[in-house]
Structures are given as C-alpha cells and as structure tokens.
Amino acid sequence: MTATMTMAQALNAALRDALREDERVLVFGEDVGPLGGVFRVTDGLTKEFGEERCFDTPLAEAGIVGLAVGLAMGGFRPVIEMQFDAFAYPAFEQIASHVAKLRNRTRGRLSLPIVIRIPYAGGIGGVEHHCDSSEAYYAHTPGLKVVTPATADDAYWLLRDAVADPDPVIFMEPKRLYWSKEETSVADRHAAGFGRAAVRREGRDATLVAYGPSVPVALQAAEAAARDGRSLEVVDLRTIVPFDDETVVASVRRTGRCVVIQEAQGFAGVGAEIAARVQERCFHSLAAPVLRVTGFDIPYPPPILEHSHLPDVDRVLDAVDRLQFDDQPDLLHLTREAS
C-alpha cells in the first residue's frame, strides 16, 4: 500500500514502525517529546509510546550522544535528534572519538547501533547556524555511515535500514525537502538497498551525481537540458558512506562526462571525493574534466542572499556547457579577471 506523504511524515512513520517492532529502540533529543520536534518528525511518538520510549533530554548535545553511547552499550538502539546541523557540533568529540570508534577500539566486542538524525543544509530562509551542510565532517570520519535521502520513500526505508544497522549511522535530513510530497510505499519495499545509489533519470550525454537537497536541482537541470536536446543522467547517492562506486562509475563510463552537485561549500567536501573517485576510475572514458557545482567557500549566507549561494539549475547547466571545452578556459579567464 502506498500513500502520498511528505518526507517529514515518512520519517515519522519510519520511527513509529521501528518503535513498534523493536522495544530496544529509543527516541530522544531536544523537544522531540510532547512538541514532536521543531520539524514535527517525532510528532505523536511520546503519546503513542510514552515518555520511556520517546523523551526530551536536558539541553546538551554531547550529553545526548554520550547518553546514546551508554544506552547502546547497555543493549538499546537509540535514535537521537540533533535539532539543527550546527547544533551537532558540541557533540563532535563524542561522535568522532566514541561513536565512530568504539567497535574498532574493542575489536568488535562492543558495537553502537545508534542513529543520529541531523536536519541539514539550507534553502528554507533560516538564520545563521541553522543551514550548515555538515555531511563532509562525518563522511571523512572512519566508522560512521552517512546517509541522506532525497525522496520520502527513501526517507522511510533508509531510516528503517539505519535503525536496523549494527553500526552508527549519521542520518542527514535535507530540511528543505521535509515538506515535499511524494508517493511513498511504507508497506512493501521498492526502495534500493542500503549502500546503493539510484539512477533517478537516465541519460546519454553526461552524468549528474547528486545527493540529498541537490537531487531535485539535478533533476530540474536534466529536465531543462532535455529541452535543449541534451540528455543528462541523474544519480542519487542515497548513502555517502558506503559509497556506491559501481553505479556511479558505470554511468560515467557510459556518458563520458560528469558534473557533481553539492550544496555544501566546495573545498574538501563530499563532491571533491566524488570527482576524485570518478576521474580515478573513469579517466579514459572521460571527454572532459569532472566538474563540481557547489556552494561557495563562505559561511552560510543570511536568508536574503542564500539564493546567490545555492547551486541552482542555471549553475548546473553552466557547468554542463563547460563539459564541452578544454581545461575550462572560461574559469581560467575568470581567475585572471579576478586578480
């Protein structure tokens, strides 16, 4: 049975079903109880499962993550919420030094089936500290799986997979997609497996690799390009760690061109990893360099300026156009202009 739901509703359904099926699952964080979370992703869970299963913690993120570590060591499966991307930073030590490492430190004698949900990225007119794209910090930390859905259906199934996973999963939720409605099948699974990317649209001329909030941008760009007679394939990573080399490489080998789209500031981001991997593995199939379309290397802008920062269809299409040329003459020419 399928239903139209928003991504927020799909996530809520996934948490509800996980709480129902496994009594070891606990949901906690700031305002996830009676309020149902600032994005209402935990709406109704305390009502249905009681304060024991879904509860508010004191206001301290290292505390939330550290509590989850202890509870997981004690046999529970915590699913915790960091209220916003930048507000997970106080927990960074707990995440990098403990969540990511405990299994390894103890040679597998202890494991941490913890899901850390993080609403992230911008595009919703949020004020400072509420719009960071922090996925690269986690993707660069060995021992963490990093997931980010782009559809309501994936939101449901990837979250179910994450809760069932024996290892810690950083579950990055693109804020701006919380309210996007889609057909979602919470009953029988159609979604791809955990760790597999999805080809959202097939194309011949170039591959757009995107994840999370950038997937709709990629699809719109492909739509627009099609009108100009250019056929773009769109790959949605779904999981950043593990990374689905097979799907990405197969696509780029076929199209011979690749643009990576990432909302985060570009420098040393996940897009850099994708570009590096693709050229390592597809070099002799590439007719042009792998280009990146990203946010600028600046702190997230105030709402009034975020549209200038965010990768949009035009920025993607500009990149696609550049795939036709050598050594990006225009970019070099910009450099000269700039200096």
Binding site: L59, H129, F296, L305, L334
Partner: protein, 368 residues
C-alpha cells in the same frame, strides 16, 4: 594533607534560600534580605519608562512577524525586568553578551531597533556594530557566548579598564558544557563578569523540571567558587538591586558573580512555536498576575514616584517609537550578493576571487 576550607567560604557562595524580592506581586513593598539596597527612585522611574518602551517594541516585533516583515522573533514578554535591569546595571563602557532572546535589552541599551532586528528579518547576520555599541552579536549557539564574555572581561582587566561584562543565558543554556567551562574559567581568572540566567522555565518545549534537578540554578555557583544569588525576575526593583551589587562586586575586583532571575516566557518560544503542545494556558494566566511592568507601575504609583501623566508620557513615547519602527521595517532589506565574499577573510583568497567572478558571470547572464 587533604584540602581544607572554612565553612565560612562556603556560606558566602550560596544564594539566599528564597529569591530576593523587594516588591510583592500586588505591587506592595516586602522586606528584602539584608545587604541589598533599593535603587534610587529616579532610576526606577527610568526603568519603568524603558519597560513600557521595551514591551511595546516586543509587541511590535511580534506584529511584524505576522505581516511577514520578520522571519522569526523570540519574544521577551514577561522578561523585561531582567533584561532592562541587566542594561541599567551596566555602564556604557561595559560589555553585554546577549542571546537571540534579549532584543529588549538591546533596544533598551539604545541600539537602533532596525539594526537589532536585521538578523531576524533575514538581512545580514548582525545588523549593529558590536565594537561601537559594546554589545556582542546576539548569540544562537547556546551558552557559547558565556565563554566569550569571560574572555572579554579578562581583556578589559588586562588593559587596566574597570569595565564589567554581563553574559545573558537562559535556563536551558545552563545545561550546555560551555556554561560550565565559562563559570570555571571566570572563577579561576577572577574575571569581572556577571552571569545573568533568565530562568523563564522553558527551553522551547522543555520545562525546567526536565532541564535540571537543582534546588535552584543559582546553586551552581558554589561548585566553582562563584558567589551567587537568586532573585524574583519579575520584580524590577529586586533584579536591579541584585545586579547592581553583582556588577559592583565584579568591578571592584571581586571576580565573577552568578545571578538566577526566576521569570517566565509569556509568549511562544518564537512566533513559529506552538506552546499548546506542551503547556497549559492556566499556567500562563497565573504568571500574568506576576507581570513585571504592572507590578512596577503599582509600586511606583504607591510610592508617589510615578503620576498618571508620567505613565501617559511613557506610553506616548513608546507608541511613537513603535510607529517609527513599523515604517522603517516596511522597506525590504537590501543586500549586495558580492558582500558574501568580502568578510570571510580580511583579504579574499584566490579561491574566493574565482568564486566571486563565477557569481558575477551568473548575474550578468541572468540580466540578458
């Protein structure tokens, strides 16, 4: 060989067992604990004027969210006594480290209300000049500003200035590790900083009982060797008296001081919040009877310090202020996209020059 301290030291660090009060909820005077002086009458009248203005500003800001002129606004209604006493207890050359909640303190300090609201209307992050106003940018990452306040206090001490820093924080923020580190650093450095905890009983939806099991948050001071006090945060006279003593303590080399002001957040966390999900309306109504502004007005009238014409004048001034603000906020904020690259570093890196040029080419492309 083990550490020995006189219980004396200890008592000096504990707050009064009951919140300090000068004025009861009905506006009548009550006997305050020994050692606290009642502020001069003209100060209280000035505080009254600012409370009237502050509340009007707050109401206007909330109205602006409904008109779509403000993206979001965390109201101070009910907390004016804390915020205005906090400002009145300071000198112009003292520093203030506020949170997103403390807009009323800022306008009361004399900052341009439009500049104060720039962040919340979606304009640039901080609309006012922190260096010129000696007011740090309103801080969102909870409790982080309290350590900056300690650093600024230490800087003033080192420069031989006798300035004091007041760090604002909420009850929820006290649970963050940074608050602990700030208190400890302040105590060890004997920095001239006053920590003002506005305990408004909620952290968004989380009530105090889920936030802390302490007898009162003011009892946190002794664990750092910081003298502390708790005060009725809806009694302007009491808050001003206690904060004035705290600031004097800090200014005269006594080191840090911790004040917990018991108050209540009358409005939703922000306009985007839905309090019906987590608190009863009766609770809010009960606190109406503790309203700090009405209480001060009754008290000042009773003491003959405030006349009907003073009240009218204060409200008239506040209305004019609100009208000017409404008009000023009617214009859409403007911003230059290229400024995005101007303040990342003093000098943009080659990479930023490149990205600026990319944006420029995009904008020209859009034009044709």
């Amino acid at each position: 060989m083990s550490v020995r301290r006189s219980p004396q030291t200890v008592d000096g660090l504990l707050p009064s067992p009951e919140p300090v009060r000068f004025v009861a909820e009905d506006g009548t005077a009550v006997e305050p604990p020994a050692g606290y002086a009642e502020p001069a009458g003209e100060h209280l009248v000035e505080a009254y004027r600012r409370m009237v203005l502050g509340r009007r500003f707050d109401r206007q800001a909330t109205a602006l969210t409904k008109q779509g002129r403000l993206a979001v606004y965390p109201s101070s209604r009910g907390q004016e006594a804390c915020q205005i006493a906090g400002v009145l207890a300071l000198r112009e050359d003292d520093w203030l480290f506020p949170t997103y909640r403390d807009s009323v303190a800022l306008v009361s300090r004399g900052l341009d209300p439009v500049e104060v609201l720039t962040l919340l209307r979606g304009g640039w992050h901080c609309g006012y000049d922190p260096a010129a106003t000696r007011v740090a940018p309103q801080c969102t990452p909870l409790a982080t500003q309290t350590i900056h306040a300690v650093g600024m206090a230490e800087a003033m001490r080192r420069k031989g200035e006798d300035g004091v820093v007041m760090a604002f924080i909420g009850d929820g923020g006290t649970s963050e590790g940074d608050f602990h580190e700030a208190l400890n650093y302040a105590a060890v450095l004997r920095a001239p900083v006053v920590f003002l905890v506005q305990n408004n009983k909620y952290a968004i939806s989380v009530p105090l009982a889920k936030q802390s099991a302490a007898p009162a948050l003011a009892y946190k001071g002794i664990g750092y060797g910081i003298p502390s006090e708790q005060v009725d945060g809806n009694d302007l006279v009491a808050v001003l008296s206690v904060l004035t003593a705290a600031v004097t303590h800090a200014r005269t080399g006594g080191g840090p001081f911790l004040v917990e002001a018991h108050t209540y957040r009358m409005d939703p966390h922000t306009n985007a919040d839905d309090p019906t999900r987590y608190r009863e309306s009766q609770e809010v109504e009960q606190w109406e009877s503790a309203d700090p502004l009405a209480r001060l007005e009754t008290y000042l009238r009773g003491r003959g310090l405030l006349g009907a014409e003073d009240v009218a004048a204060a409200h008239k001034a506040a209305e004019e202020y609100a009208a000017r603000l409404r008009d000023a906020m009617n214009a859409d904020p403007e911003a230059d996209p290229f400024e995005l690259f101007d303040h990342v570093f003093a000098e943009p890196t080659p990479q930023l020059h490149e990205q600026r040029a990319l944006l420029a080419s995009e904008l020209t492309a859009r034009e044709d």
